[in-house]
């Protein structure tokens, strides 16, 4: 492994992401432990489970956003195409560019126009792009996010003047424009109305054909609708959270092996 990474080179084939024995702390309290998960290329992996089990924490460990919180620590390895992203040679900023994330609450940059929001990732990572390529990229990203038709006439208006669902799709476009290898999504639809949720699920299914996606969701039906692989997180009171069972979505939901999984997916708690 070279000690310096060349940044910003997109991988054309979908990448694989693997968590090996990941644990995470906030301060001195251990919130997740023993998490092993292989997220296959060109697959949508869903992380399900009741709230407070560490799903979001685990997600943020995957793209090194966890350490941005003061006092947060982690252990274990996260392998992107076989390389540990936490190894000393990797710059955290280039890791984050390669593993994109869409947050639960849409956060477009209010001081920028829609077009500028889409290309914000490029500006922030110092990637140069010609004007023509920029226009192509904006159109392509917005189309992939399912937003192009609604905003193509007002690309220069402010990013915060859109509805919640549109803002979230803008954030997806922004993440996609950065050409990440993997896309993480932290309950992307929980703050949205059903119509927008439908739109975004369609987008996720479409993207999942060519990208590796990991989505945290509370909505069991959504997990069934969009994902091919699922991991069920659980935390006993006072214990760190972890994966109880994982498998193909069909199998996990129709024939779960662990009684706790069966209980959860049948709506017994959560």
């Amino acid at each position: 492994m070279t000690s310096t990474m060349v940044e910003g080179t997109p991988v054309t084939a979908a990448a694989s992401l693997e968590a090996v024995d990941v644990a995470a702390w906030f301060g001195s309290s251990l919130v997740i432990d023993n998490v092993n998960l292989r997220m296959q290329p060109a697959t949508v992996t869903a992380l399900i489970g009741p709230s407070g089990c560490g799903k979001s924490t685990f997600l943020r460990v995957l793209n090194r956003m966890h350490e941005a919180v003061p006092g947060a620590q982690m252990a274990g390895e996260v392998l992107l195409n076989g390389e540990d992203i936490y190894a000393p040679g990797h710059r955290v900023t280039s890791v984050r560019q390669r593993i994109g994330i869409v947050f639960q609450k849409p956060n477009p940059f209010p001081a920028m126009s829609i077009a500028d929001n889409v290309t914000a990732g490029l500006v922030l990572t110092g990637t140069r792009i010609s004007r023509h390529d920029r226009e192509t990229l904006v159109e392509e990203s917005l189309t992939r996010a399912g937003l192009w038709n609604e905003v193509k006439d007002r690309l220069e208006t402010s990013g915060s003047a859109l509805s919640g669902g549109q803002q979230q799709r803008l954030c997806i476009a922004r993440a996609l424009a950065n050409k990440p290898d993997v896309l993480l999504m932290d309950e992307p639809c929980s703050a949205l109305d059903p119509m927008s949720t439908r739109w975004i699920e369609d987008t996720i299914r479409e993207l999942g054909k060519t990208m590796t996606i990991v989505i945290v969701t509370h909505n069991l039906a959504q997990a069934v609708r969009v994902s091919q692989w699922s991991a069920f997180f659980l935390a006993d009171p006072g214990e760190p959270g972890g994966i109880v069972e994982q498998g193909s979505t069909d199998q996990l939901f129709s024939a779960p092996q662990d009684p706790r999984t069966a209980d959860y997916v049948s709506g017994g708690f959560g």
Partner: protein, 368 residues
């Protein structure tokens, strides 16, 4: 399918149960060894470069110029070294970080130099006990430092501030209560005016009191006049900081009190104000720290006496800032040293007040 999981199950089943190993977190280092060597190397290289050419090639002199040249050379060298191994955005990030560190050093350095210099220059004055126990009656400015002292100035400052606090606290906290608890049509205007008044130049407060009390009412220049002028400056500061302290009191407390049937006044007096105690105290102390350092106010409204005076209504009262200024203007060496001595006492007071406010805020457990 679930190979990992099945494998894990199989492994767990086959092995004897082991006691769980306590996990230790990974140390994530943001800066690589390469980063540190680049920094050190650039520092040394620019240092050597500037040392060589400064005096000889550029024919300059002076420490300031040297430092500026060193910084310029360092930026160039560091940027070049970084660019070889990192992308443009990392280079810019590093350069910005270095510049910000430099700015921080300059600002903190200036503050430290002020504090240290004051205490150092005043040393020969306050080393004498008589500095604190005598006043300047009968002592000329040129007298040696073993004679005379600033007792009258210290006493003057303390008394004047005490009166100012008595005058300004009710008005200041009362305004805060109005803004936070009562409100009304005028609250926005009052708030904006309070905000603007916190920045009123102290000399105008002095002039105002001078015009009203000394010209119209005919009061002589006494300690009371100084106190009132101080109060004029202090009221907006207390009002603004107290309003913040009151606003932070959780609404649930007010609702609980009113649900029990308390009147609005009782709620404010018995529930809200006590909860905000620390914040109100901090507000007052901040205002006091501001008030005791005012020089223009006593210049305008007080005479500089040299004798000890406990009476704020008759005869002029000296105070520390006034004493500092009048001693300084004589330009006599021992008077100037006394001025620095008084400045050290004043500075020490401010620092102590400051530490008290930190202590009060920390006690509440609310970090800034």
């Amino acid at each position: 399918m679930t190979t990992l999981h099945e494998r894990g199950d199989a492994v767990a089943a086959s092995e004897a149960p082991v006691a769980p190993v306590a996990r230790t977190p990974r140390k994530i280092r943001r800066l690589t060894p390469d980063d540190w060597t680049s920094l050190a190397g650039a520092l040394l290289a620019s240092f050597a470069l500037v040392t060589l050419i400064y005096e000889h090639l550029l024919n300059l002199s002076g420490v300031l110029g040297y430092l500026v040249c060193w910084y310029a050379a360092f930026v160039v060298v560091y940027a070049t070294v970084l660019r070889m191994a990192n992308s443009r955005k990392v280079v810019i990030e590093r350069l910005v970080t270095v510049t910000l560190y430099l700015a921080a050093f300059i600002v903190v350095g200036a503050l430290l130099s002020t504090v240290v210099y004051t205490f150092a220059q005043g040393f020969h004055a306050y080393i004498h006990l008589n500095f604190f126990t005598h006043d300047m009656t009968g002592v000329s400015p040129t007298a040696p430092l073993s004679q005379g002292g600033i007792l009258h100035a210290i006493v003057g400052t303390v008394i004047e501030v005490a009166i100012a606090v008595i005058a300004s606290v009710p008005l200041g906290i009362g305004t805060a209560v109005y803004l936070s608890e009562v409100g009304g049509r005028w609250s926005q205007s009052v708030r904006t005016v309070v905000e603007a008044m916190t920045a009123l130049p102290e000399i105008l407060a002095g002039l105002f009191v001078y015009v009203v009390l000394i010209v119209y009412v005919g009061m002589p220049k006494t300690g009371l006049a100084v106190s009132l002028a101080m109060a004029v400056t202090m009221v907006p500061i207390i009002a603004r900081a107290s309003e913040v302290a009151l606003r932070v009191v959780p609404n649930g407390l007010r609702e609980a009190s009113e649900a029990l049937g308390a009147t609005h006044w009782r709620t404010v007096y018995k529930v809200v104000l006590p909860s905000a105690r620390a914040g109100l105290a901090t507000a007052t102390i901040l205002a006091v720290a501001r008030g005791i350092g005012e020089t223009a106010v006593p210049l305008i409204t007080s005479g500089a006496s040299s004798f000890l005076n406990f009476n704020p209504v008759t005869n002029p009262m000296n105070s520390l800032p006034l004493y500092i200024y009048t001693s300084y203007t004589t330009h006599e060496p021992s008077a100037v040293t006394r001025a620095f001595g008084a400045a050290s006492v004043l500075l020490a007071m401010v620092v102590v007040l400051f530490v008290v406010t930190r202590f009060l805020s920390r006690d509440k457990g609310a970090p800034r």
